[in-house]
Symmetry: C2
Subunit: 176 residues, 2 copies
Amino acid sequence: MRYTVRVINTDASMPQGEALLDAVGTAFARLRRRTMQAPVDPPVGPKDLKRNLVLNIVDEATEVDTEMTVGGLADHLLVDPSVASRMVSDCISHGYLIRAASQQDGRRTVLHLTEEGTALLSRFRHQQRQAFEYITRDWPEAERLEFARLLLKYSDSTAKLPAPGTSNRPPLPPVA
Amino acid sequence: MRYTVRVINTDASMPQGEALLDAVGTAFARLRRRTMQAPVDPPVGPKDLKRNLVLNIVDEATEVDTEMTVGGLADHLLVDPSVASRMVSDCISHGYLIRAASQQDGRRTVLHLTEEGTALLSRFRHQQRQAFEYITRDWPEAERLEFARLLLKYSDSTAKLPAPGTSNRPPLPPVA
């Protein structure tokens, strides 16, 4: 409970704002991992979680019209290519992904979600919603929805960032 | 930009509240991964990200007075024990972790952060703060701090959840 900080003023230059911003990194580290520890129905096993990581990244690439390869997945997941390859094979053998030829480079094989993959993803999102509702069950309704709104706004704001492995990063902003 | 949803009312039974809650799962999937795509100084490499995953989990266990083994790490990270073991060896050889005897079970080896490990973690948290500030650079200051506050509140709320692999889960809440 180290991070229970109450904000009275909302100026980042004040100590409370500073403490909040400093603790954000720890919160991010815990967020997704811990969310899936909440009881949901049907329960989510480690295999489902792994598949979901893979399917989410393929889905996200499709959404912004980019192609996702096994190597790209390994970069996103921070795992060795051989580990990414095993995760992809598992998804393919269960019918959640298919391999297809790249439309941009004939030598490349890219990944696509199948209908079953899309259905699994949507089932998983429903479980994540359940987990979120469970974790915030004692929160005032307005605060819970405000948090959901800000999460999505943040997710939107990150959409403009360069993909991992891209070298054309924007210049670092001046330190506030 | 699929998830840019504006909330006018804050009642979860209304379609906008519903849409927000449904999109939370997607936002979580992207949050941490994308946050570290923001330009920070010094830049964060894939090795740093992996080490940080490991050190965060060891730190979190210490905080709640539990012991973390290589097997426990594998459960938290959703990787095979052999992969977790390689990640731990890397952290040990770089001086960020040490092995120690469990105080609860003499046959078990547990992991502890070294001073260098703690310093790396705090450097990483500073980079995550930079990334957060970069991503939210166009947000009104009050909204950015409100989001930081709610992130920490959520992180606190998840602290009461059972650890992965624990079978004594609380009963599922009634569907709202």
